[in-house]
Symmetry: C3
Subunit: 485 residues, 3 copies
């Protein structure tokens, strides 16, 4: 990607100077599209809107319903479309039909063919579609690209997350043409190297939330663990030991016991890698050495982990609010009143119990409220409107406030039960006690990093200071700078 | 829209070559704006920020507060503004003042006048503002455009949904100039044809959620039906027959009975047209024939229907959670306890009732949770960051999961009551029984489409395969391709 | 910002014509970056992606890990980077290291130096970083800019809210070059004037939600007032007078009493300035005179006030839904049942009480629902997809519906208690009575503005009509226009 990449695609003047790619046709203002499917139509709409002249070549020109393509588009048969001084041809047909174009081989020679096809499956052997196209048309210049753009994006214009057009080719000249065209169409071309990268580009649109798979698996495993642990401790063992049938708790109670534990641990996992990275920077005395790749990956998944934590916390909130709607709550309530009457006394005021419930509800509501703010700022359009300091404030300060409130919610909920022997049936502690360990460690470590001596050192390192200055170039410069009047 | 559309607006070189539009002035770097209102000011800010020189012509230059326009803007009286080699003039005044500019008729001759006015009402007779302007200034070139852009968007830059500038004119040359300028300003010009389209463009900003009107009406009618049905079955007929006064149920109970029914039917209406389209494609054996327009419209309204279904479901959730806060719940609870005491026995454990309530609450919470995810991905900034496969996964797979959970929620709620005669007072089934019919049909049809033989055929059709190949051009190609070595 | 601003940065042709800035180097296609930190890396990535050739000059070229910069970037030592015909140099190092570059003074002479540094604190004395750079390198042209762009935005491309690049310099020529480059990189340059504005630009990234501080302070003070008032009226005075211990109410009850009051007053504050502005326009008979700045500020903070009102209302909703989960609710319920049994009668049907609770819950749920719609449309990506009329409809019509529903919610909640002497312990009215005053005033004033005579006049004024036409230029025009046949 060099300086004259900004020259408009359609200037004729640059071509003669092009010594290393003599086979590339003179750039012409017209672009051809072979195929008349959805992608072809959307591509034509977009190209016309970007001020490019378009010829569409179809197997069956006469059968196309009128109005399918914009008026400015010229419709021809396939041979007619590529014969008239066109230089760039989009191959908007399925790869299995490429061979049907062998008759156009000579007409396409020296032209740039853009392969816009996707792979059919993620795991596939053999050459990519673009490489097979290059084999079929050895005299043409094959460029892979535009497959990551959906027909919908083509029609409505490029948007935030999907502006990127991944491009690869063995011909610098061909790549340059496609880069220029995609820029003209309002996209953001990204050079992915030679045609051997085509497989990766073809597979990209098939990937399903690649950045979410790790966090989702972690969250799911945590849920399985807490659900299984709760089942063992609260349902199976009591059933085996005392024959208590509490299997009705599987549907709501146990889920609602596991969800907050998962939310708490996941939230701690959001802030753990940041602490680890800070510790590593302190230890190394520099920020210029790369983190190990597992830490890098973890750091990049914090947003997803945070959103999953919010999802679990929100579900926990809704499940909890559903409690009074449940038949079992009603039964218990009526029977409590019945027993009270039998006992012949009003239920006494329970100051401690009241305070405990008020406090853990408060912390829970506020913690979930703060988490909601965090979730809202992670919406692309909201997050993009924040400056760096605002983003840091929300994600770091508010995040730690949410973590602290969640821990307090758990501790107030647990109250002093952790010190009672009844809380440990079968020697198994309650799951919230297991869940609160990691968050507490994270919070303590964070407070440790706020100690003045450590904080100062970390700030200096993050501003570029290094503990051992062993860069001779800099030393030299300092000498020179001081030597000059 | 032809090849040299990418030439910058300000290049003088293209004008001489312009044979078919001799009356168009030589392009000059300066743009004039007549009028000094909000729109004029915002337009000036935007033009200056886009690197264009701007002259504003005002009726009363001397009374304009300083600082109203950016410094780079030249302020003149109206005659001064249009006399100095300006080629393109924005008419930023109300159409009823157009006639006050008759004195500038000769000065404006041959220039491009951009009419930026809106219609006052949607239903109006007579010519559009732009057509009246063209009558008043027959020697000028009138182009309609920019009225769909608000002053706010002009000042802050174009955004996702509102990047489009609809343009029409009888002069290709004039249209081309405005297209270039709007592109330079960061907008996305859309050619709407001749000046007779001006009415449609002028009315566009007056439309109030045009894509929502249909779905809102459908949802509202469904609500009316279920509310009326419930009123008849649960309140009016019992009152007339047995004199029971249950009118207090109008405010919350009946609403909360109708909302889930509406949500369920509307959600089924989201997935119904897709099934119908699939069936049509299977029947026709091709995807290249257009759907009937009612189906097309329905398919395009699925997002709105889905969001309205979510709105109803969420309201149903909140109303349900409010139940324990209601005075009537409290009264009933205390009286249940009272009667229990009178009867002298604890209320017996109701295993079936407990399971039923646990299950329908679980399905409800999870169904609403999945619907929330669907609603979040329909936010423009979130949806835009998904690739096509992710979007399909969320909208189709998650959608069917939500539908299944909602149906299960309803069935568990209904339990075996549908088989009791008491559920049919006045021979009227409960409304959830009516509501669950269509969703069940949709689910069964969907499962039918997943049968291997049908699924394979549909996939082939969607990839472009046609059952009867009657396209001679393609046949010919095949022959040629095979004939060439 | 003049006409040839659209010329690409890299065209050599414009330089000779440049008479007023002889010291500016001939524009060359290469841009240099001094420094190799995060910002340098991201800047290089972005520049390369925009088709610019980049040379990075580092103190310690040899120690840079490979792969840190894109392949297309040339890595040199600092002297090498600036010596090779480079014209524009980004100073991507901390300002305290500027003096280490004194040895490059002659090499940098006549070149454009872009200062991308931020201020360290908001309140700081002395010259800005850019001014100090200009002092150190008097023969270079210093331009301030790009500091508002984060490294993340540089890498991923510009987004909605953060597209703006604030630029200032004493050299028009230097500014023009940076403006062009930033436009080429996809940003939206904003000219902030001379280098004396650099301080303001350097401080911008440090500001924390500047548009939120006022509304947050107002909301917080309102909360403090209502919380303190409630504490005095409901807890402290009863404790002092009758020794009642109700301190447990501090955590949830009192918060949940204050939140709706704050939400209601804040919502009224959203619509109050609009009414005031309308009244001012009616009084003045024109819309062309500026509002006093406090009113202008208030009008611009309506969105924030509205969102804070929604936050309080939503929290109020969640706290209310939590009521049945509280230990104190349980205690009271059981004891009510107990007392009922002691009394020996079922609790009688309370028609009025039931209607009251049904109505205030309905209004509350619907009011919060409408407020949620308002909050959703204030998300940037949703709001941007609305046209002006839709935006006005949502923000104004739906807003007044939400206000009306909230007032009704409060009034139904209050019912006839306001007329009982027990509602005024210590002569203090309940807080919801205080909170409902301002919203009622707003609602009445709004209805007043809808009276036909006033509405017509206001509409005319807002369309540009003025009560006293004293603009001589216009009069003149009219005469001329009428004089010409």
């Amino acid at each position: 990607m060099a300086e004259d990449m900004t020259t408009p695609l359609l200037s004729d003047s640059e071509a003669p100077a092009d010594a290393d790619a003599p086979s590339v046709c003179l750039t012409s203002p017209t672009v051809a599209i072979l195929g008349s499917g959805d992608f072809s139509r959307s591509l034509a709409v977009r190209l016309v809107a970007s001020g490019v002249r378009v010829v569409v070549g179809s197997r069956c020109v006469n059968r196309l319903p009128s109005g399918l393509f914009p008026e400015a588009v010229e419709l021809r048969n396939q041979e007619g479309a590529v014969s008239q001084g066109v230089c760039l041809v989009f191959m908007a047909l399925f790869p299995e039909h490429y061979h049907s174009l062998m008759g156009l081989r000579s007409a396409l020679a020296g032209k740039v063919l853009v392969d816009v096809s996707n792979a059919e499956e993620i795991k596939i052997n053999g050459p990519s579609n673009a490489e097979r196209l290059a084999e079929l048309f050895p005299d043409s210049i094959v460029v892979k690209g535009f497959n990551t753009i959906s027909t919908w994006e083509l029609q409505t214009g490029a948007h935030d997350g999907s502006k990127q057009v991944l491009i690869c080719s063995n011909s610098t000249e061909g790549k340059k043409k496609v880069v220029q065209l995609s820029r003209q169409m309002g996209f953001h071309p990204v050079d992915m190297g030679g045609l051997s990268s085509a497989r990766e580009i073809e597979v990209a649109p098939l990937r399903l939330f690649p950045s979410w798979s790790g966090p989702v698996v972690v969250t799911f495993l945590l849920f399985l663990f807490f659900y299984g642990y709760g089942f063992l401790r609260g349902i199976l063992l009591p059933f085996l030991a005392q024959g208590q049938n509490a299997f009705y708790r599987l549907a709501v109670d146990l889920v609602n016991e596991s969800l907050p534990a998962v939310a708490l641990v996941t939230l701690a996992l959001v802030y753990f890698p940041g602490l680890f990275a800070a510790w590593l920077q302190l230890w190394r005395g520099t920020k210029y050495r790369r983190f190990p790749s597992w830490l890098d990956n973890w750091l990049q998944r914090r947003k997803q982990l945070g959103l999953l934590s919010f999802l679990c916390a929100a579900l926990h909130g809704v499940y909890s609010l559903c409690r009074p709607l449940r038949r079992v709550t009603l039964l218990r309530l009526v029977n409590t009143a019945y027993r009270q009457v039998k006992a012949g006394t009003e239920e006494p005021w329970d100051e401690l119990g009241v305070w405990r419930s008020e406090l853990y509800l408060s912390c829970g509501v506020l913690g979930l409220g703060v988490l909601s703010l965090l979730a809202i700022t992670s919406l692309p359009s909201v997050g993009n409107s924040l400056n760096w300091r605002e983003f840091t404030f929300v994600q770091s300060s508010l995040g730690y406030i949410a973590l602290t409130l969640s821990i307090m919610h758990t501790l107030f909920f647990g109250w002093d039960f952790a010190f009672h022997i009844e809380a440990y049936p079968f020697y198994m502690p309650p799951s919230y006690l297991l869940a609160v360990v990691l968050p507490c460690i994270v919070l303590v470590c964070r407070c440790f990093l706020l100690l003045p001596c450590i904080f100062t050192r970390l700030t200096r390192i993050r501003r570029g200071w290094e503990s051992k200055r062993n860069c001779p170039v800099l030393q030299h410069h300092h000498v020179v700078a001081n030597g000059i009047p």
